[in-house]
């Protein structure tokens, strides 16, 4: 049976995020935590493979204990196991340290449940936005990476071949690769399912497995947490909103004001830019 791993991060809901005007950092307090949007698409794709070919789906997340809730959500949708890699020593990790820990966790999952065939990641997180962790994990596992995948065209578990469409800046690339691979998912990849009631019941009772540094005897302590993170945030700022000149065209007769508006618009280069002229 295929073994699929999904890397998932619990993130603050970006729709409700604010920036502290004094410190210029994200205000996380009181903001609901959700499964990273792109990771849901990664999970959904893994579950589709499971539905079609049969597979074991393991979700791995590095984060604080509160991320158990996000893992339960993944289990409710159909993941077989949820692993929380959690330790104070992991705190303050940048993408380098994070991908190191996740790669070690995936190797440990291989020890537990057999070799991993596909690792699914979201293309990026909503809070970090770097898109570096997926590729970083692939490098450390020394497997091929298929980033920005918008469609899985076919998967042949016997031949161990997968064909995907990668959405690039200048077009779409159709790629064939041999398993094991790591895929980073775009939102276009699929539409995540709503958990069925049996899944919700299972998730409500499910206790995610927690791995701490003690579970990784070979882990290099200098490569985790703040110590293992060479990224330095030198400055943060909130961009000034662009100044826009607003004019109100007053009048009682809409036909007249509309005529006036059109006249003003056609006096600019906008119609040409939009191809109206």
């Amino acid at each position: 049976m295929l073994h699929l791993v999904v890397c998932m991060k619990q993130v603050p809901d970006s729709r409700e995020i604010r920036i502290d005007p004094k410190t210029n950092t994200l205000v996380r307090q009181g903001v609901p935590a959700i499964v990273n949007y792109f990771d849901l698409h990664a999970l959904e794709e893994a579950l589709r493979v499971k539905d079609e070919h049969g597979a074991r789906v393991t979700v791995i997340s590095m984060g604080p204990p509160s991320a158990e809730k996000a893992l339960r959500q993944c289990v409710s949708m159909g993941a077989d196991e949820g692993i929380l890699v959690s330790d104070r020593a992991f705190a303050g990790a940048d993408t380098l340290a994070t991908s190191y820990v996740l790669a070690m966790a995936i190797q440990k999952a291989e020890d537990e449940w057999g070799p991993v065939d596909i690792v699914f990641c979201g293309k990026q997180t909503l809070d970090g936005d770097t898109g570096q962790v997926g590729p970083g994990v692939a490098c450390r596992l020394d497997i091929d990476q298929l980033t920005y995948v918008e469609k899985v065209e076919s998967l042949d578990p016997v031949k161990r071949e997968i064909i995907v469409h990668r959405h690039l800046e200048d077009g779409v690339e159709r790629v064939k690769a041999r398993l094991p691979v790591l895929i980073t998912a775009l939102a276009e990849l699929n539409r995540p399912r709503r958990a069925g009631l049996p899944g919700v019941l299972r998730a409500a009772r499910y206790q995610p497995i927690v791995w701490t540094t003690n579970d990784f005897p070979n882990m290099d302590r200098s490569k985790i947490g703040l110590r293992g993170s060479p990224t330095i945030v030198s400055k943060t700022w909130v961009p000034e909103p662009k100044q826009v000149n607003t004019e109100f065209i007053e009048g009682d007769d809409p036909a007249v004001t509309a005529q006036e508006l059109l006249g003003r618009l056609y006096a600019t280069d906008l119609p040409q830019k939009l191809g109206w002229a």
Binding site: R194, A195, G196, L197, V200, A204
Partner: protein, 458 residues
């Protein structure tokens, strides 16, 4: 197990679900399923889970409290019966030490009130916000062992030979079988309607409440309401609501104010006034305006309040089901108590379920113990006392009671306190005469007073 689906009639069933008459197969069975994780449902789930029953708690919101609102006062007694000293851990806003009642005139008010620091220890009531409180309360039920099933809508009840044997949800493979279903799905109770135990509420049986949560600095709130630390104050007000039967409220939270009005739906309909217009009018009243000025509106919400009283209460139990809280019209509109009645009804339903479970009897006769327990409780007794209030309000005297009298009272107070050389005896006579004229004569005033007395003293 062969089960037949009974459609609720209120919700469309999507194509993927079995239709009426289809056979369905269910596997996992619960001792009890509770529909709705508000105060009533959560109290029932908590009680049953603590009693060792296998319970599922279903809530349509993303989390308990996400879709719930109330004015904002939580009382100690009824919750304490369930969770001793809950206030030491529950997310509450302020301990209320003062309650005020304002009778509003156009730009004036006659005020009553009571402040007493004895209300701090032991605390009597608190202001609260449901979005925080309900989450905490449901968390207690989860800790006690209730299985949370959130973001899930119960679309109908599963019936077998006229007995309720479980619920159907809007999730895939969404049937859940149980010996008992506790219906606590709120004022609009779709399940109550599907059971045929209550109809669509008449416009005079419900009020529409709209509420704003207005943010102000903590210190500003404390200064404006004369409070220290966690002390709180509530203001209830009548009058100045376009002559409609309604009650307004202004409550102090930690760093917000809850301001709202609840108006009888039939009056809103007859006067063709929108609820937010009533609230906007209230916000401009000088008594209110000064307390809220400079505040930023953080939330706006609206909700129906069941105010039909005892005569609108449906049957409370049947074969395999019990109904609690707002879904059973358990609101004491006169004392703005609802959460109280909800929590107690949930607890009583839970206790009945535990006894029924022990006997293995889930028939209407066995669950009718719940009805009896409600009748013996303050829920029934209080609603009985105020049984006539709904009739009094529904008889069309709103304009008189909620506009003309409050204004006349303000006018009278103004005259009595104005020193202008007119003898007090003359003033008093004029004031009484004014009230009489407003009522339409001595006889009518007396009759109204009598009706009012009877309504308040069942």
């Amino acid at each position: 197990m062969r089960t037949t689906v009974l459609q609720s009639g209120n919700l469309p069933i999507s194509k993927m679900w079995p239709r009426i008459g289809d056979e369905i197969v269910a596997d996992e069975r619960f001792d009890a399923v509770v529909v709705g994780a508000g105060p009533a449902g959560t109290a029932a789930a908590y009680t049953m889970a603590k009693g060792g029953l296998k319970v599922a708690l279903i809530e349509r919101g993303e989390f308990p409290g996400a879709k719930n609102i109330f004015g904002g006062v939580l009382y100690r007694k009824q919750l304490e019966d369930l969770i001793p000293e809950f206030w030491k851990e529950a997310p509450l806003e302020r301990t209320i030490v003062e309650q005020r009642l304002w009778i509003l005139g156009g730009d004036s008010a006659v005020t009553f009130g009571h402040r007493n620091l004895k209300y701090k220890e032991p605390p009597n009531c608190w202001t609260g916000l449901r979005v925080k409180f309900d989450q905490w309360f449901a968390g207690k039920a989860e800790q006690a062992g209730a299985i949370p099933i959130y973001e899930t809508v119960v679309t109908e009840l599963l019936l077998e030979n006229g007995r309720v044997v479980g619920v159907r949800t809007d999730r895939e493979d969404g049937d859940l079988r149980a010996n008992i279903v506790v219906i606590a799905d709120g004022v609009n109770s779709l399940l109550g309607k599907s059971l045929g135990i209550h109809r669509e509420w008449r416009p005079d049986e419900v009020s529409l409440a709209v509420k704003e949560v207005i943010a102000l600095p903590k210190q500003t709130i404390q200064d404006r309401f004369n409070l220290e630390d966690d002390e709180g104050c509530t203001i209830e007000f009548v009058g100045h609501m376009h002559g409609m039967a309604g009650l307004g409220f202004l409550y102090t939270n930690q760093d917000t104010l809850s301001l709202g009005v609840g108006v009888m739906v039939s009056d809103l309909r007859n006067k063709r006034i929108k609820p937010y217009e009533v609230l906007e009018g209230i916000k401009r009243h000088p008594m209110i305006q000064r307390l809220i000025q400079g505040g930023e509106v953080k939330e706006y919400s609206g909700h129906l309040i069941p105010e039909g009283g005892l005569d609108s209460m449906p049957p409370l139990a049947g074969d395999g089901w019990m109904i609690c809280g707002d879904a059973a019209q358990m609101v004491n509109a006169v004392h703005r108590e609802g959460t109280n009645l909800a929590v107690t009804s949930g607890r009583l339903a839970g206790e009945t379920a535990i006894a029924a479970h022990a006997k293995g009897d889930f028939s209407a006769a066995a669950l009718d113990e719940y009805t009896k327990a409600v009748r013996d409780s303050f829920i029934y007794k209080d609603l009985k006392k105020y049984r006539g209030v709904h009739g009094l309000l529904a008889m069309g005297a709103s304009d008189l009671l909620f506009e003309k009298f409050p204004q006349a009272l303000n006018d009278a107070a103004y005259e009595m306190l104005l020193v202008d050389g007119v003898p007090k005896k003359v003033k008093q006579k004029a004031a009484v005469g004014h009230l009489r004229d407003v009522a339409g004569g001595n006889w009518k005033l007396l009759r109204l007073a009598l009706k009012g007395w009877r309504a308040m003293n069942g």
